[in-house]
Amino acid sequence: MTVVLGVNYVAWRWLGSLNWDAWWIAVPLVAAETYSLIDVLLFGMTVWRLKSRGAPPAAPDDATVDVFITTYNEPLDLVMTTALAAKDIHRPHSTWILDDGDREELRRLAEEHGIGYVTRSADWADMPRHAKAGNLNNALMVTHGEFLLILDADQIPEPDILDKTLGYFNNPRVALVQTPQYFINVPKDDPLGSQAPLFYGPIQQGKDGWNAAFFCGSNALLRREALMQLGLVGYVRETERNIRQALAASRSAIRKARRSADADNPLVEHMLNEVEAVTNEAQEQLETGASLSEITYRVRRKVEQAVQTLVQADFSALQSDLEEIAALELAHVGESGLPVVAGDAVEVMSGREWSPLGALESVQAILDAISVERINEAQPVMPLATISVTEDMATAMRLHALGWQSVYHHEVLANGLAPEDLKTMLTQRLRWAQGTVQVMLRENPLVQRGLSWGQRLMYFATMWTYLGGFTAVVYFAAPIVYLAFGVLPVSSLSTDFFIRFIPFMLANQLLFWVAGRGIKTWRGQQYSLALFPTWIKACTTAARNVWFGRPLGFAVTPKARQSGGPGWSLIRPQIVVSALLVVALIVGVARLAAGLLEPVGTLVNVVWVAFDLVVMSVLFRAVRYKGFIPEERNADAV
């Protein structure tokens, strides 16, 4: 019903109602409305297949489980509280603290309590670290449980968390069981919108219905076999891509060498021919399907031999070249934490006028840098996806694309801590949004092979919601423009408008109400509009990161409350917009009194502005929020 009414309304808006005289606001507004319609359609599709799973299947008795507690800089007592709770989980398991902060004291505490302790191995020195994904990938190499329970440092598990979740793995195709994230340090009115009852409820249950439940980074169980398979498939794909690049780079280095003065030297010419033949042969073998280890081995052996012969023939004159090449870093870590593959090394090399030996050496350097060892990464096999700062979503999508199944178990089995101040909360939201947009730009779900259309749309739906920052701006601007300047983006606010708009709005709210089944979704709705600067920033920074390799300005969400007074400067754009809304309201009423505006239009826009202001009001409370005070203490004080 919402769909029909919505399409009816938006189609009419496009076809019959645009005020072309004010196209600069009319077109953005109708585009924003179209965006919102698609958003509603995707939401409707999600909850259409809402899956309530009921009691979980019985857990198998012989399953082996590793419980991973990931930490970077959280206070030690917080980590230990979680670790000790994890140790007390029923059913056999090993508990591990994955300490990316490499803290000696935490190691000691872990040992004292008989809890495993893992930090990055020596392989990670000078390599891209990939944040939490890297931390987990490192731990996967030194543990061997069949299933992994992943917990953030602040997520205290219930003792029966395994009893309630392991049974789903009786189905051998299930790779992921996600449970909700619930926060215990949040007051009833939830001023920071920390709880996500709509997401850890109808949305995840709906996605579950499409076999597209998301992995959310914590409070989830994963099947090791599925992750390792993901790592292997990724390894093969990356290796083949790198070899193709390497061969192209090698050809270009040979061309460069031919142009240099020494190319007339018969010995050099002979070498170049030989290396070129090897490179071409390798390309041919690659196309005919020879194995990558064989190809790289043969090429490297031959190039090595060629270089050695040449070095013996004429060593001293070329010494300086060699030093220069040795000083060149082949693959380095980008500031985003993602590796910059040797592409720019190739550029630097082909941009220089090197002698043939230099060129030969550079061919070998390229082949060394990009080989079956994947030497620009700490470990060849990276099970958790590293293409995004939110490794969880990308990993789940790849698992689904490989045909694995996922489960959302709708029962709180771990209690966590939410940010208690606006600044931390904004950092966290920004990171989630950035990560999601990164995945959308790097691996657009709509074109991923292996995913069903339902799954593609479920991933797309979440990414789509993060584009809402731009439309929020339009929704704030349109009533201001009308009230202050009398420009109406709609050709008329006649009955035509209302008979289409009002039923759609009502059906829309009804959909949320039915899907939400009484849970409080208003806070979430407020924040999805009010945090528009965060969403916009996420989109622009992620796009710059993916397309131009710029850093994201990645930050770990602090678990402890940040000190300092109210952070009004954090919401400066929203304060400006709110002020403009108020000014527009006053101007609008004045213009109405002066007879410059018609009453119906003014009324609609005044209501609209009032709605916007109510939405924004959440931030003014959030800024003043002093952190969580437990109910008991509150009662004592009264």
Partner: protein
């Protein structure tokens, strides 16, 4: 899973019998690291008696390949059984590793 190894003229042969799964994978890495450290960087992992392999086992093979290559040698596999072949194909790992019929054949052209 039982591992044994034997240093031949031009290569070292590592034999594994049983199930090369997530429990045995770290052991394989250790054995190959030992062989390479002892000076044999050309290694054949003979899988004739390996009746089962999972993705962790394959991951360990990749780790061993890296170790051998970094020591200037290579790692090859031989005597692949049907289940192992299936896993190689499922993960596209047959794109990376050639399976030789016997350990002797693995380095015969080198």
């Amino acid at each position: 899973m039982q591992f044994s190894y034997e240093v031949k003229d031009s290569y070292a042969e590592v034999k594994g019998s049983g199930r090369l799964n997530m429990v045995a994978a770290p052991k394989l890495r250790e054995v190959v690291a030992e062989v390479v450290a002892a000076g044999s960087s050309k290694v054949v992992v003979n899988l004739e008696e390996t009746v089962f392999m999972d993705s962790s086992g394959l991951g360990a093979l990749i780790g061993c390949l890296k170790a051998a290559r970094q020591a200037g040698g290579d790692l090859r596999i031989s005597g692949v059984q049907p289940q192992v072949r299936m896993v190689l194909e499922l993960t596209n790992m047959d794109r990376v590793l050639t399976s030789y019929p016997t350990a002797e054949a693995a380095f015969s052209d080198d």
